[in-house]
């Protein structure tokens, strides 16, 4: 009889020990034995931060989907390692003098990975699809200006726009502007076949994607991997452990608190770039306090951005107190970049002027799946409380966060994003267009839209600078979003991998383009 209590104790003890192990993530290290580092076969192994259940052409599905896009698909244009627009499926392109018409000359004998021919007809169909509002395209706001696509022959596509757009080639270089085979436009709307450097052989749902080299890729001779395996490690530490153990050669989203750990490893390269930015966006459709621009101004002035940088990004982020335009950009304005510099007294005054001196209750939407999103929310929560905005965190999984944001089921939301292009014209995606998960729900400012259009049509850089100064002033006034910080975004990879590069600025998530030309040392 006396043995039963002892059995109980040992059982509970075992449960407890198991819990401690599971909770501390020690199980992460129980990965398969490292093989990649000893391998001489040209197989690339990538550790990815999120699963992509359905790769939907044209949509903004986040960084993980963009990596897969760069492997499977190609557009007319792409980016090189420095972020310069370079020809891809198009061997050349020419803009008209008024920047309203662009002529693309396709390479000869282009084929999709299934062997079917890729012609100007596919270009026309894809671009027209991107221009439809139902496509939900990431570059939908830009493509809505599409007037027509002419195809004088199988190798030539002439894209005509309703208005001038000097940045149009940059938009077509985005991964989501890939040229798609006809079957991608079916009811399912998913696209696992394209004209990129790899073709998908196998997926294990939520676990991995296995690719082989696409022999039909136009630049196949520069693809130095016969095989590539992308394994999903949603947990940052697990992803890092996989790299440290040699299970993978390359990981994305290096956890900020682990930057030093990677730097200290002689076998690894940390490749950070300052790019994506974190911000708050608002549900103004409810018509409550957040529809009042003074309340939004108060929020933008109340937040302590240094705290966000320290708490959520271990200091690996820089303060952004205005529109997110890089200091290196010719359109940067040092004074306007400080337009929302923290000023709690002024924020309280604005709250009082708006009629909310006693504050109000609000739901702060974020996601626990990406710890830095939740940490950002936790960091701004006391700042909002200081001006009377009592927030309750809604911190579910990422997919739920995205859905709630797109449907307007929030008051204030934390978001992290990158412009489609480094040109300030990217701001259009965050202030106008149909409801999306990364911009204020119900926000509409025709004057701002008009200014952004003027920026695209300005004849000279000086004219554009003048217009974008006005854009920044308008953003500081109407607060379509409240910028917080520009975060450092890093890839980490084995020193045996050469040629891969983290593309600077907002283009960091396009870095998969540089896998073409990259190689592994034996």
């Amino acid at each position: 009889m006396a043995s039963r209590p002892r059995r109980w104790i040992s059982t509970l003890g075992a449960f407890g020990a198991a819990l401690a192990l599971v909770l501390t993530g020690c199980s992460n290290t129980a990965a398969p034995k490292p093989t990649a580092s000893n391998s001489t076969a040209p197989e690339l192994k990538i550790g990815l931060s999120a699963d992509v259940p359905d790769l939907k052409p044209s949509r903004d599905q986040g960084a993980a989907a963009m990596m897969l896009d760069t492997m499977i698909h190609r557009g007319l244009l792409g980016y090189d390692a420095k972020g310069q627009v370079v020809p891809a499926l198009a061997e050349s392109f020419k803009a008209s003098a008024d920047n309203k018409s662009f002529t693309f000359k396709l390479r000869k004998d282009l084929k999709f990975s299934d062997g079917s021919a890729l012609t100007s007809a596919n270009v026309k169909k894809t671009l027209e699809f991107l221009a439809t509002s139902s496509s939900g395209a990431k570059i939908g706001a830009t493509m809505s200006q599409l007037a027509s696509v002419d195809t004088p022959d199988e190798q030539t596509a002439v894209v005509n726009l309703k208005n001038a757009n000097v940045a149009f080639p940059s938009y077509l270089a985005d991964t989501t502007a890939a040229i798609l085979p006809d079957k991608s436009f079916g009811a399912q709307g998913t696209s696992w076949e394209g004209a990129g450097p790899f073709k998908l052989d196998k997926t294990q749902k939520g676990v991995s994607f296995t690719f082989s080299k696409n022999p039909n890729f136009y630049d196949a001779s520069n693809v130095n991997f016969d095989k590539a395996t992308v394994t999903v490690y949603a947990d940052g530490q697990a992803r890092l452990n996989a790299l440290l153990a040699g299970d993978v050669h390359l990981i994305d989203f290096v956890p900020w608190e682990s930057f030093d750990r990677v730097k200290q490893d002689a076998n690894l390269t940390l490749d950070p770039q300052s790019g994506p930015w974190m911000y708050l966006h608002f549900n103004v459709a409810k018509g409550g306090p957040l529809a009042n621009e003074k309340v939004r101004q108060a929020i933008a002035l109340a937040v302590n951005r240094e705290n966000v940088a320290k708490a959520a990004f271990s200091g690996q982020a820089s303060v952004v107190a205005g529109a997110p335009i890089s200091e290196s950009s010719p359109f940067y304005n040092a004074q306007l970049a400080q337009g929302w510099k923290q000023d709690v007294a002024k924020a309280k005054q604005l709250m009082a002027e708006a009629g909310y001196a006693n504050g109000f209750d609000a739901v702060l939407l974020t996601s626990s799946q990406y710890a830095f999103h939740q940490d950002t929310a936790l960091s701004v929560q006391p700042d909002l409380a200081a001006i009377g905005i009592r927030t309750t965190l809604d911190s579910g999984d990422w997919a739920t966060r995205q859905q709630k944001a797109a449907e307007g089921r929030y008051d204030i939301a934390v978001a992290g994003s990158a412009g489609v292009v480094n040109d300030p014209s990217f701001l259009v995606n965050f202030v106008t267009g149909p409801a999306a998960n990364n911009r204020s729900y119900g926000f509409d400012d025709p004057k701002l839209d008009d200014l952004l259009n003027k920026g695209l049509q300005a004849a000279t850089d000086a004219d554009r600078k003048a217009v974008y100064d006005q854009v920044q002033e308008r953003i500081i006034q109407t607060v379509p979003f409240a910028s917080l910080v520009g975060r450092s975004q890093a890839f980490a990879y084995s020193k045996k991998l050469s040629g891969f590069a983290n593309i600077p600025g907002f283009l960091t998530f396009e870095s998969g383009y540089t896998l073409v030309g990259a190689r592994l040392q034996a």
Binding site: I9, T11, G16, A20, T24, S314, S368, L378, G396
Partner: protein
């Protein structure tokens, strides 16, 4: 008097140093839970980011601070409060739902038995963590969701226990006598049957509390339990994990208190079982 002294004897016999240690630990957790607002600790949610990741012994923060500069000791002790509220709430829900289903099914029999026990089977058919994830995902994380979800999840163990005991006693003479004296079915169930089947149910209580703490910690760790910045041990482990190398105490301390509390509740369950089960006393007299 004889019964009382026999009960005290059984209680004494059920105790040993490990079990007493466990019971004392539970007592300390309960006392801390009640007195924590009077201890003068810093606000567990108050951030002081310049003092982030302070180690054990940091001035003003005996156990250090987390990545928001929040006091670890304060969060651990306030976390105990949340753990107990959630686990006691969930256990209470499980007790009420489970005992009701078990009593009705066991005492009334026939189609009531079919309905109640098959309901229990349906709940048991789902793996607990999967069902919890499903409900929390639909209704959103939070203390109330946690209590109701875990209460439903743990109700079958009370329902089956009660059902088995009620089936055993429902035809005994004292139950028949209650009916003969004209007591209603409800009154017979509550005043005659329930007291006679209570002992194993009481023994089940601390074990369910322990399991509740385990599940709550797991769900909070996964971001589906207590909503931050409210302190919870599971949440503290999840948060601390990222800074484990800079400050191992962020993970070690909440993990240790989770293990110790679960173990302690298990030991209290052992004491109650040996104390309240007269057959154990009889067996040892043989």
């Amino acid at each position: 008097m004889k019964t009382t002294s026999r009960s005290v004897r059984r209680l004494r016999r059920s105790l040993n140093p490990v079990r007493v240690g466990g019971a004392l630990f539970v007592l300390v957790v309960v006392i801390v839970t009640i007195l924590v607002p009077l201890l003068g600790l810093p606000d567990p949610q108050a951030q002081n980011i310049p003092e982030k990741l302070g180690g054990i012994g940091t001035p003003g923060h005996p156990l250090g601070t987390d990545r928001f500069g929040r006091d670890l000791l304060s969060r651990l002790l306030h976390g105990a409060r949340i753990e107990l509220v959630v686990s006691i709430g969930a256990t209470a829900v499980a007790l009420v739902v489970g005992v009701t289903l078990g009593m009705l099914g066991g005492f009334l029999g026939r189609f009531v038995e079919t309905i109640t026990m098959r309901t229990v089977d349906v709940i048991l058919a789902f793996p607990p963590i999967v069902l919890a994830l499903l409900i929390v995902t639909i209704y959103g994380p939070g203390i109330v969701t946690l209590i109701v979800t875990m209460g439903i999840l743990f109700s079958p163990r009370f329902a089956r226990l009660t059902y088995g005991q009620v089936v055993t006693v429902r035809n005994l003479e004292y139950v028949e006598a209650s009916r003969v004296f004209g007591n209603s079915t409800l009154r017979t169930m509550l005043t005659v049957v329930l007291p006679n089947v209570a002992a194993p149910i009481i023994v089940q209580l601390p074990l369910t509390l322990a399991t509740s703490i385990l599940l709550e910690s797991g769900l909070s760790y996964l971001g589906l339990g207590v909503v931050p910045p409210t302190p919870s041990w599971g949440l503290m482990v999840a948060d601390g994990q990222r800074d484990m190398i800079a400050n191992p105490a962020l993970v070690a301390l909440p993990s240790a208190v989770i293990v110790a509390t679960i173990l302690a509740f298990g030991l209290v369950g052992d004491i109650l079982r040996d104390w309240l089960d007269p057959r154990r006393g009889m067996a040892s007299n043989l």
